[in-house]
């Protein structure tokens, strides 16, 4: 049975360092929820607190109504997939998957039935009697997944499950995981440092840094409206340019970008005239010949990447920006050495205060 998870004011301390620093998260039943962040951000620590391998030093974690703080790890009924799989090397695939069922003292026939079902779900029925030693990473990963879901856990935890696989297999396993998760409707908490993987697999994402939640939202929200400069840089690429709010008339603002170009955006009404940071993703620039108005720059490097071309452009003030041009919408292709003019897409870009901590765009009105 799938459960909702509530993390309230959770704290984990090592010495005088808060690895998890007053975290609040509500996860709905059946959701695939990702903890995303750079290494050392506390995401794995938090996951291990949920699993019961790290003690919870403050706050509560509950499954449904039940606070699990004091339940020992082996009684929490959580399935977990480990980063390096942690397949029992001295047991066959079957025994690995049956392990948790034997611990639950199920009847032999039922164990047999459930193991078979789980193996089928991850498409490794044929590996049933194999020893783990001579299995590939992808196969071991499937065994680990089968072993975790066969016990019908309340919650499924996944700790960087794809990080040891090669790029192609990673995409393949990602799809398998998502399908199995949706089919079983099992609440899943997924930890990764790979933003692309997080965007692809998650229903919702919590971005973490230094033990704190930076933003919680659906993948698209996090990508299009990062709540601060850190998230804007961590998820995808953002060019941060200097700007200044010149007027703000009940939310209709005029911003001067690099003292060169005026852009018009819907900002929060309270924002007054002040310097700001303008965050523009590579695909949020329109690129034209240098005769057109806009911020000007010279192409330093041109990289062909299949469906798009990436340009590194040095602006007149010396700053480098990255600009992507998608092949199908390309009016004209440029070459290294060309000078071009750039204009940000006003409905897409983001504005932050100078500290980078606060987003100034009025989300309700802005994005189209």
């Amino acid at each position: 049975m799938s459960r909702d998870v509530h993390i309230v004011d959770a704290v984990k301390t090592y010495g005088d360092f808060n690895a998890v620093d007053h975290v609040d998260i509500d996860i709905q039943a059946g959701e695939l929820f990702t903890l995303l962040g750079p290494s050392g951000c506390g995401k794995t620590t938090l996951l291990r607190m949920i699993a019961g391998f790290n003690s919870i030093e403050g706050g509560t974690i509950s499954f449904g109504e039940n606070v699990i703080n004091n339940i020992p790890a082996h009684k929490r009924n959580i399935g977990m997939v480990f980063q390096n799989y942690a397949i029992f090397p001295h047991m066959s695939v079957y025994d690995n998957v049956a392990y948790g069922l034997k611990a639950r003292k199920l009847k032999k026939a039922e164990i047999e039935e459930r193991v078979t079902e789980a193996l089928a779900m991850v498409q490794i029925e044929n590996l049933r009697d194999r020893q783990p030693a001579n299995m590939s990473g992808g196969q071991q990963q499937r065994v680990a997944l089968a072993r975790a879901i066969v016990i019908h856990p309340d919650i499924l935890l996944m700790d960087e499950p794809l990080s040891n696989l090669d790029a192609k297999l990673r995409v393949q396993m990602r799809t398998t995981i998502k399908k199995v998760q949706k089919k079983l409707g099992i609440t899943t908490i997924y930890v990764t440092h790979d933003q692309e993987e997080a965007l692809a697999i998650s229903d919702r994402i919590a971005v973490m840094k230094s033990g704190r939640i930076q933003q919680i939202g659906k993948p698209k929200e996090i990508y299009t409206r990062p709540s601060n400069e850190f998230v804007a840089n961590f998820i995808g690429i953002s060019n941060i340019l200097q700007g200044e709010i010149k007027e703000n008339n009940e939310g209709n603002a005029r911003i001067s970008l690099m003292n060169d170009v005026n852009i018009h955006m819907k900002l929060k009404e309270k924002e007054e005239e002040k310097p700001v940071k303008v965050s523009v993703r590579p695909e949020e620039f329109r690129m034209d010949d240098s005769t057109k108005p806009g911020i000007h720059g010279k192409i330093i490097l041109k990289t062909f990447l299949g469906d798009y071309i990436s340009y590194e452009i040095e602006l007149t003030n010396g700053q480098s920006v990255e600009v992507n041009q998608y092949l199908k919408e390309t009016a004209r292709e440029y070459d290294a050495g060309d000078t071009v003019s750039l204009n940000p897409m006003e409905n897409k870009i983001n504005i932050y205060d100078l500290s980078g901590e606060e987003a100034l765009v009025d989300e309700k009105k802005q994005y189209s």
């Binding site: 699993a51 391998f53 020992p72 980063q83 942690a86 397949i87 016990i151």
Partner: protein, 553 residues
């Protein structure tokens, strides 16, 4: 903020209890005897507190010269053994020496020879009435005396070079080939490559091996006792002092014991200090290539290796040969017979039973304790378990005779009266030989992913059960490769047994010793052969079972 105590408590309970129990056992049977011996060394014969024992030690030439002798012979012998073994190890691991497995087997076998068999065999060959000596005398050559200073060094060198050989060839075999290739690629000549890359990289191993050899030599009682004659070293002095003080409080023997432990500790700390500053971690990608020599070059390299190995195994061959000779009193007659074997079965059969029963009990305890202690010190690092680990390793520096005296002085009265029982022998064996099992068990534990256990706990199995269902099973190969070493050294153990045995608990090695003293060389040889064969079979069986895995020193 609420501390999550219940959860923590349940998860750690099992291991806390284990750690506590082990700590209590070690305190009673190791720490307490050591404290006792330290305490006794500070008493005079009337039982009053005094430093006069130490004052005597450092002012009387009788004692200081023994200390000097010990350091001198051990240092020289260690250096000689290194000079012999390192080149041989290099040759055998980097060149296609013929029958390499056999060579290694011979060297392993010569390492596990029963104690002081070396000294005894060399006396048989080169002693006053030795076979070689008399032969050479007939053709007019007079051999220099093998007794005393030179003899001890000869026997120590031959006895301890196999140990250094095994360490060093292990290190040479696991060095990443690309390091030497990089040096070659940068234009280094072969000899300079060895001096600038290969040798510095195995230096930590060499120094660790030298330390082990030095410690073993420092603690060796049998060899200097037999071949040293007037040249006294510390362990012999301790033994004689203790025997002369029986009935008394053995205060001077205690003092000597404390001093030898301090010396060993000093050397250990010095070595750690040197090695810790030059420890390299290497990622082994490709094992070094073996150079294929042809024709006479290969023959020469093979011959050199086998010559050295032959000298190493010579004592055991001598013993094997003489065990089949007919004896008349202490003399061997030139005629073969099985009399010696018949006589040990009728007269000394019980010592064979004792050796195997005591060693079996001891090894079972060692495997159980080794498994748990290794786990605690690797996976449950905390202050108590660190102390536990250090305590367990401490007997590395305690000579057997010293441990024997410590146990005797401690457990010769109520509440724990053990003197003269078989249990005190088993106790000494466990304390002395446990480090092998613990080291090897810890080593394999570092290779087992901790997440394996978490996976099991996560699937609903309690932490204690999880250990026995997962980690303990995965540790077995490592535990056994250490336990085999513990087992072999236990059945061969003399120096503590000789302090602790009574006529009812004599073991094979004690009987070998007493038979030699009584001049019954034939039966002594036959008993020693039984030990050698058992050791050899144990090693063979282990290599077979473990699929070619080598024993861990």
């Amino acid at each position: 903020m609420k501390r999550n105590s219940i959860h923590k408590g349940i998860q750690l309970d099992f291991w806390k209890v284990v750690s506590l129990i082990l700590m209590i056992i070690l305190t009673i049977f190791l720490l307490y005897p050591l404290i006792t011996i330290g305490y006794k060394s500070l008493l005079n014969t009337e039982g009053q507190f005094t430093l006069s024992n130490y004052k005597d030690f450092f002012t009387l030439k009788y004692y200081t010269s023994a200390l000097g002798h010990s350091f001198l012979v051990c240092s020289i012998a260690t250096v000689f053994a290194t000079l012999v073994s390192v080149p041989i190890a290099y040759l055998s691991s980097r060149y296609n020496v013929a029958w390499k497995k056999a060579l290694n087997m011979i060297i392993i076998l010569s390492m596990i020879s029963p104690p002081f068999i070396g000294a005894y065999s060399w006396i048989l060959l080169f002693g006053r009435s030795g076979v070689v000596t008399s032969f050479l005398q007939k053709i007019g050559i007079n051999m220099p005396s093998i007794y005393g200073f030179g003899g001890i060094i000869l026997v120590f060198t031959v006895k301890f070079f196999p140990m250094i050989y095994l360490y060093v060839s292990g290190a040479l075999g696991s060095m990443d080939a690309s390091l030497e290739e990089a040096a070659e690629n940068l234009g280094m000549s072969k000899i300079r490559r060895i001096m600038t890359v290969t040798f510095p990289l195995i230096l930590p191993t060499i120094s660790a091996a030298m330390l082990m050899a030095f410690m073993a030599a420092l603690a060796d009682f049998g060899t200097p006792m037999l071949i040293g004659e007037g040249y006294k070293v510390l362990p012999v002095l301790i033994y004689q002092q203790y025997l002369s003080e029986t009935g008394g409080d053995a205060t001077m023997a205690s003092t000597l014991s404390v001093i030898i432990i301090l010396c060993a500790l000093l050397v250990l700390i010095l070595q750690k200090f040197i090695v810790n500053r030059r420890n390299y971690t290497m990622s082994m990608l490709r094992p070094p290539a073996v150079v294929c020599l042809k024709g006479w070059k290969r023959f020469l390299v093979t011959a050199v290796c086998y010559l050295v190995a032959f000298i190493g195994i010579l004592p055991q061959l001598t013993v094997l040969f003489t065990s089949f000779l007919k004896t008349s009193g202490p003399l061997f007659v030139k005629e073969f017979s099985l009399d010696s074997y018949r006589s040990i079965i009728s007269k000394l059969g019980s010592s064979i039973t004792h050796t195997f029963v005591y060693s079996t009990v001891a090894i079972i305890i060692m495997i159980a304790a080794g498994l748990l202690i290794a786990y605690l010190s690797v996976r449950k690092k905390n202050k108590i378990n660190t102390v536990l680990d250090v305590l367990v390793m401490f007997p590395y520096v305690i000579p057997g005779a010293v441990l024997g005296i410590a146990l005797l002085l401690t457990f010769n009265q109520k509440p724990i009266y053990l003197t003269g029982t078989w249990f005190i022998l088993v106790l000494a064996y466990v304390i002395r030989k446990l480090p092998y099992t613990v080291r090897s068990s810890s080593a394999i534990l570092y290779q087992i992913d901790p997440a394996i256990e978490e996976a099991s706990i996560n699937l609903g199995v309690s932490p204690a059960k999880t250990f026995f269902k997962t980690t303990a099973i995965l540790m077995i190969p490592g535990v056994f490769s250490g336990a085999i070493m513990s087992w072999i050294t236990t059945i061969n153990e003399l120096s503590s047994s000789v302090m602790l045995y009574t006529s009812k608990t004599a073991t094979i090695s004690v009987s070998v010793y007493t038979e030699v003293i009584r001049g019954h060389f034939g039966t002594a040889a036959a008993l020693a052969v039984i030990l050698s064969i058992t050791s050899a079979l144990s090693v063979l069986l282990f290599t077979k079972l473990s699929g070619g895995r080598s024993i861990t020193l």
